[in-house]
């Protein structure tokens, strides 16, 4: 815990566009209240930059309550900063000390190209979901909700996996920029639920193929992804994905 007001040096990645060369620039920011959220601190910096005639730092954010998955940022080398189970938007400045130098970078992964400053393109995640992250049911086809009983324990497992917010911290934290935690969360949710069983084989094969095609790296089981995940998605899901993948490969002969 620190004092009520902090003087900080912010070392921020600035990059004008997707093809521009970027570099770090240092900014002094004084009088930062410890009650501010991290993004509010960046808002204050941006207000000062605009007043000084410098273009503000671009960063992605939307809900600012930890659920939309739009905010990102490597803060001192950690995806979403130093707190466990916390998105950048939920991180507060009381976590920092007066005089700190804070380094802020975008997610680094070739599958997530930088668009500007701290903003990256995560549309590869959408394309992975398109490859099979759903149950194929048209509107109007559904039987009564209670016609498909789901034991409480199964539902809890599915919900644990379904809590993924799709932010990409797992990729950013992984030395191989692997998307295994993200992919395994959706594969797990739908593999354990009865509704998803019919397509489970096709789903895992197609999603994994798409993940590879998008340029994400391989998983070497270092669990950095789990440590960085703000939604506390467990690497147990990766184990389940591997089982699903082997099962499907044997059955389909692909």
């Amino acid at each position: 815990m620190s004092s009520e007001s902090l003087n900080l040096t912010l070392r921020i990645w600035r990059q004008n566009g997707p093809d521009a060369t970027g570099d770090f620039r240092d900014y002094k920011l004084n009088g930062v209240s410890t009650h501010m959220s991290f993004l509010e601190m960046l808002d204050v910096l941006n207000e000062q930059l605009i007043e000084a005639g410098e273009e503000p730092v671009a960063f992605d954010h939307d809900c600012r309550e930890g659920i939309c998955g739009m905010c990102s940022l490597m803060i001192d080398g950690k995806a979403h900063g130093p707190d466990n189970a916390t998105t950048t938007c939920q991180l507060h400045m009381r976590r920092f000390n007066d005089g700190d130098t804070v380094t802020i970078e975008p997610w680094r992964a070739s599958a997530f190209p930088v668009l500007r400053d701290l903003v990256v393109d995560r549309s590869a995640f959408d394309r992975i979901i398109q490859a099979g992250g759903y149950v194929s049911v048209n509107t109007g086809n559904a039987p009564d909700g209670n016609a498909i009983p789901v034991p409480g324990r199964v539902q809890e497992t599915a919900m644990d996996a379904a809590a993924c917010i799709g932010c990409g911290a797992c990729v950013a934290a992984c030395k191989n920029a692997s998307a295994m935690l993200f992919v395994s969360a959706k594969v797990s949710q739908l593999a354990v639920l009865p509704q998803g069983k019919a397509e489970r084989g096709e789903r895992v094969l197609n999603m994994v193929a798409k993940m590879d095609e998008e340029g994400f790296g391989h998983c070497t089981n270092t669990s950095e992804c789990e440590a960085a995940c703000p939604a506390e998605i467990s690497v147990d899901n990766i184990a389940r994905l591997n089982r699903e993948f082997i099962r499907a490969s044997l059955v389909s002969g692909k």
Partner: protein, 643 residues
């Protein structure tokens, strides 16, 4: 005096008993032949529950859908943040619920300012929504045996709310998003992310396309179609501070309004009673604590105005559990508008807690003593965790501090029973329209409405329009497209050319302050008139002194914000005009001049039982009021009492 149109708005509600008309009407509407559906293109703007569900369902039918959102992915839309749950009249708990009861509760909860026929349809399809979401793999809470669990929520006296922990909106949205992604894979939906709608293209009075800005490259793009479906959410960010996501805005709806679509009941806003209080000037948004907390938490302030003891030192006899005192029947579970006004009343009277005095306690002490800390953690663990993250206080040990905050907007573009605006071919769904919640929305009914509109209403009503309308091909060099594109470009150029001294956020904060002070939880004639003149001055200053750096040809977040704030500066004035015109108190709209001696809202059914739909003429010019008279043959209006 307000200029009132002499025509009456045709809501196209079919004749007949309210519980039969939707079924009959589905038969009476025109169908598009299955082989012809692929010839029609439909634009869906917004990818929340309404937009995601609409895009998926329309594509499943065979239409070609283009879907647009300003976020980096359709999965980010702010429906994702809804915590509590979704209502349906399944009556699984066998506790007396029915479609009719859900209908009745929603009309009453809306303080008799919603359209009965729409609300009945909503209650009717609520059960289909649950079935649909379950089959998509939405992990709703279950009993041990595997059946769906329910809880009571937001003042309902039956347990009809389905939920996924504290993340119901997230799971429902991901269900709709995944359904939509499946259609992308099948080639029926094309997604345009990081695009912001800046203009509506209207040809011969019919809505035929949109102009969007590609937020990555800055390019303006023209997209034409046979129908435009607007699912762009609410306008709560006109207050600057709200529980909305930072990007939520009125721009798409406002541009449609400026092209002729009527804006209905803009003054109906919902102030949610349980939010984390403001902590400083830098505050960028407010965080909601789900109202499910009021099932176990008790709201109180000290009885003695000078009592500065810490809350745990204040014994029960010195605490004023004011909701339980004023509303013994409903206690802490009174609807949102009532709970919010009651906290404001205590804080205005000087009993508020915390540094600012703008907070009340929400205390779990008794629930923890009764059920144990583990039981409370199981129910609300994620909310308590979030509260502690933000405030650095442990709500298991000390009571939460809460205060009301802007949360939802019941007003929106006017639509008929088909969810079509007065501009043919422009459909408006979800929070962006006005139709189902009247002057106050009940908890767990926003998710229901978004999905009802998207999954179960629009697939029928769009077909009826496409089957009947004359829809000639619109080339991109059509004068209407060229003019819309030019208008969007001119506005961007104008924003960049001001080159003043003040930041966009400073204007937004100033506007928010005006709106909260004068068009917030309590409104008065004098306050609203003052607000209108202040907004006009602020708007003038904005166009003289705003500073937007950079260019229009790149990713430029200041420019995006500037465009949205410029529209809020026009829209805020209309909200105040509407609030000024409505000389009564109803639901979330509380006029100080119209209250009972006990301080409760006093409706004026004789004069104001209508929808106020405003027609735009020019910025700063007086709009024309079109009235849609409301009638309540099935749920006769009474005074809403929760005592």
């Amino acid at each position: 005096m307000v200029r009132v149109a002499t025509d009456t708005l045709n809501s196209r509600v079919p004749e007949g008993p309210v519980d039969e008309i939707w079924d009959k009407h589905r038969f009476n509407m025109k169908l598009v032949n299955p082989a012809n559906k692929r010839k029609f293109n439909v634009i869906v703007v917004g990818t929340g529950l309404a937009g995601g569900a609409a895009a998926a369902s329309l594509a499943e039918l065979g239409y070609n859908v283009k879907s647009f959102c300003f976020q980096d992915s359709p999965r980010r839309a702010h429906s994702i943040a809804a915590q509590g749950g979704i209502n349906a009249a399944k009556n699984y708990p066998n506790d007396g619920d029915s479609i009719w009861r859900l209908f009745y509760d929603t009309v009453k909860g809306g303080d008799y300012r919603a359209r009965e026929a729409n609300v009945y349809r909503l209650a009717q399809v609520s059960n289909n929504i649950i079935d649909q979401c379950v089959s998509q793999g939405v992990p709703f809470a279950r009993e041990y045996g595997g059946t769906l669990a329910n809880r009571s929520f937001g003042g309902a006296q039956v347990s009809r709310t389905f939920y996924c922990r504290g993340q119901t909106g997230q799971q429902l949205l991901l269900g709709a998003y995944q359904a939509m992604m499946r259609q992308v894979q099948l080639g029926k939906v094309e997604v345009f992310a990081r695009r912001e709608m800046l203009e509506l293209i209207v040809v011969d009075g019919v809505s035929r396309g949109i102009v969007v800005r590609n937020l990555t490259s800055g390019e303006l793009e023209t997209h034409t179609a046979d129908a435009v479906v607007l699912c762009t959410g609410g306008y709560g960010n006109v207050y600057y501070l709200s529980t909305n996501a930072k990007g939520c805005n009125v721009t798409a709806a406002w541009r449609c309004h400026k092209r002729g679509a009527y804006f209905a009941n803009p003054c109906y806003t919902q102030i949610h009673p349980t939010c984390i209080p403001v902590s400083g000037d830098y505050q960028s948004k407010l965080t909601l604590m789900s109202e499910s907390l009021r099932n176990d938490g008790r709201v109180w302030v000290a009885k003695n105005i000078d009592d500065k003891r810490s809350p745990s030192e204040i014994p029960d006899e010195d605490r004023d559990y004011y909701l339980e005192r004023r509303y013994p029947a409903f206690g802490n579970l009174v609807p949102r508008d009532v709970a919010s006004r009651a906290s404001k009343e205590r804080c205005d009277a000087g009993f508020g807690v915390g540094e600012s005095g703008l907070a009340v306690y929400l205390d779990f002490r008794d629930a923890i003593l009764r059920d144990g800390e583990d039981a409370i953690r199981k129910k609300y663990g994620n909310l308590f965790h979030m509260y502690e993250k933000i405030t650095a206080e442990n709500p298991y040990k000390v009571p939460m501090k809460i205060y009301p905050a802007v949360h939802y907007t019941m007003g929106g573009l006017w639509v008929d029973y088909h969810l079509m605006s007065n501009l043919p071919g422009l459909f408006v769904l979800g929070e962006a329209n006005f139709s189902d919640h009247g002057a106050n929305r009940l908890g767990a009914s926003a998710l229901m409405q978004g999905l009802s509109d998207g999954y179960f209403v629009i697939p029928y009503t769009v077909g009826d329009h496409l089957a009947k309308a004359e829809l000639p091909e619109i080339p991109h060099d059509h004068p209407a497209c060229v003019a819309a594109l030019q208008s969007a470009q001119d506005r961007i150029d104008k924003l960049l050319a001001v080159n003043g001294t003040r930041t966009v956020d400073s204007f937004h904060r100033a506007l928010g302050h005006i709106m909260w002070e004068h068009c917030g939880m309590a409104r008065s004639k004098a306050g609203l008139e003052l607000a209108i003149s202040q907004i006009r001055e602020l708007r003038e200053e904005f166009w003289k002194d705003v500073r937007v750096l950079g260019s229009g040809e790149t990713l430029n977040q200041s420019l995006e914000k500037a465009g949205r704030v410029a529209d809020f500066l026009e829209f805020g004035e209309l909200m105040c005009i509407d609030a000024l015109n409505r000389e009564e108190s109803c639901g979330g709209h509380f006029r100080e001049e119209h209250q009972t001696p006990e301080g409760e809202a006093k409706r004026n059914d004789a004069e104001f039982s209508y929808v106020a739909a405003w027609e735009f003429h020019d910025v700063g010019a007086e709009p024309t009021l079109h009235k849609e008279q409301l009638s309540f043959p099935n749920v006769p209006p009474t005074t809403r009492s929760y005592k």
